[in-house]
Symmetry: C2
Subunit: 333 residues, 2 copies
DNA sequence: ATAAAAAATGAAGGCGCTTACAATTAGGGT
DNA sequence: ACCCTAATTGTAAGCGCCTTCATTTTTTAT
């Protein structure tokens, strides 16, 4: 292992100088810089970031906790973050929380032990208080897709209520009144908020909300299929169904097709998230765009600006969803 | 920042002993262990993994390079890896190579500078020689989804030729002879190999291969759509189309539908990868299963066994694809 | 009880780099 | 040529932990 020391000897300078040229800090004469550079090249020197981190107390590493790695949602989000961080030469240490408070805490702990300069957290099981206490402890963190008033500055989220509203409002606007709703897990904030938006839209348009038309799924495609079956089994009548995410919408479409109901002629379907495959379905899925990649990059910008002091990195705390019209919704007969 | 030293003083032992209880190495009496534990708890001690890494020359971190983060493919793969690594308390430092040799090298370099204990690489632009030289330099790495004979032990890949063969063979078996092929980027090994498999299947069944029926896409959905249009525009006649991945298959289905050709009645479609949304399409996409998550976990096992000396972690070097029958293929009229 | 073996602990020297601070050199003005 | 300031470099003390080796304590065997 070639060290800075060996380089310094070969170049005939002190190790401090070598460190300066590596980090481009302090001042060093052009001539000695070259001396050092060639010495490094000849020796095949490789900077030891671990040692540097210990000495400087900066790891240039951001810890990232997401519930899962599979699926296209988190990849898109992390992609947004990565793109922004790569230019700043920061790296991401990734961990999964599996929507389990215990695991989430362990992972956060592990990332902190690894001395990440900041954390980006998409955690769903851990309590608000826990996150608030971390912030009060001085941990630099951004919470994504979750809003906690007390640490609002550390949150970057989508207005899920508005998204839910937009979806159902669209169905109402084109004439539907009997609208079924397949909710996401209601113990998760976004699942709950999207449902709230749905209810507000109904209220705004003077349509009464009833539990009979809603089914609580778990954000997985299969639960969309089950949702439709359950609704039909309980005799619910509807001409449209709003789903809390695209996976469930796709599951719902499968069930509807099985039942011989055409989409959108017999029943309209609207999803939520606008994941990449939404446009591959046929008809293309009308949905609510969740600017997930943007959320990822906002989180990166937050970190760059707040933790590393880079300027010119703007970010917003609350992003807005918008309606994406494709082929699964139409006016009722 | 509470250090091991402070803990040792509070517990009335030496720092060496504290280190022993933290790492569970050496021997330490139960009583003193408890002493140390309570001291750590009272002081709110947090182990500094960076310092530990420097001293022990082990980071317990695996560097991971993938082309992109978005899409469902790499998330699934990394998910497989993560699951296996989490139990071993290893972490993943993730970087993207963007299929660009320059970037791929930089990222590998950065991960090495961070002293990752091992690398898992899904790189597509860098040369075989480069990877071989890394291995010869003593870098512990697994190459996934790519086979390089000279370092076959370090590779974990899918038999893409066989997959391509299986797909086209299926179409041939159910009676198709006019089979169009929408290839992936041919400068990528898997794109090329899948096409080779297609050609072998044709040859085996005595059907002549012709360039006229193949179109080179780029693995993106849009190029599937364009592929169909191009094929039709050039007057190609076919009753089935095999695609080098599911995204393109989905794009192809969209184009076929536009042209008024029913799937599978008028033309059969088969994809490759079996990504998660393949079953959401309608009809469900017949495809070749790419055990991507398994590849991810194999890579983890390789690392666990070879780098960390954990036993009982079996792994294979070449995984086999298999046919997944769903609704997009049927015999021609 | 006592010697020998085993278990438990402590002392101290790094791991490779950063970073005040001190020391040296170079540049400018008169 | 000489003094002052600014630009360069070197010195050395850590950063917090691991780990070998020596030392002390405990256990086992006789």
């Amino acid at each position: 292992m070639v060290t800075i020391k060996q380089v310094s000897e070969k170049a005939g300078v002190s190790s401090a100088t070598v460190s300066r040229v590596i980090n481009n800090t302090g001042t060093v004469k052009e001539k000695t810089r070259e001396l050092v550079m060639t010495a490094m090249a000849e020796l095949g020197y490789r900077h030891n970031v671990v040692a540097a981190s210990l000495a400087s107390n900066k790891t240039h590493t951001i810890g990232y906790v997401v519930p899962e790695l599979h699926g296209s949602f988190f990849g898109a989000m992390m992609g947004g973050t990565e793109q922004a961080l790569r230019q700043a030469k920061k790296h991401m240490l990734i961990a999964t929380g599996h929507s389990d408070a215990q695991i989430e805490k362990e992972q956060i702990d592990a990332l902190l032990s690894r001395r990440c300069d900041a954390l980006i957290l998409h955690v769903e099981a851990v309590s608000d208080e826990y996150l608030v206490s971390l912030v009060h402890q001085g941990v630099e963190l951004v919470v994504v897709n979750r809003f906690i008033g007390e640490i609002g500055d550390n949150c970057i989220s989508l207005d899920n209520v508005k998204g839910g509203y937009l979806a159902s409002r669209h169905l109402l606007d084109i004439g539907h009144t009997k609208i079924a709703y397949i909710a996401g897990s209601l113990f998760k904030a976004d699942g709950k908020n999207r449902l709230t938006g749905h209810q507000q839209a109904l209220a705004d348009m003077g349509v009464e909300y009833t539990d009979k038309l809603t089914y609580e799924g778990n954000f997985q495609a299969k639960s969309g299929t089950e949702g439709i079956r359950a609704l039909v089994a309980r005799g619910a009548k509807f001409t449209a169904v709003a789903c809390a995410n695209d996976e469930m919408a796709s599951g719902a479409m499968i069930a509807l097709r099985e039942l011989g109901r055409r989409v959108p002629e017999d029943v309209s379907v609207i999803g939520f998230d606008n994941v990449d495959f939404a446009s591959y379905l046929s008809p293309g899925l009308t949905t609510i765009d969740y600017p997930v990649q943007k959320i990822g990059s906002m989180a990166a910008h937050w970190v760059l600006e707040r933790v590393y002091g880079h300027t010119r990195h703007e970010y917003q705390h609350i992003l807005s969803p918008r309606l994406i019209l494709r082929g699964t919704t139409s006016s009722p007969e």
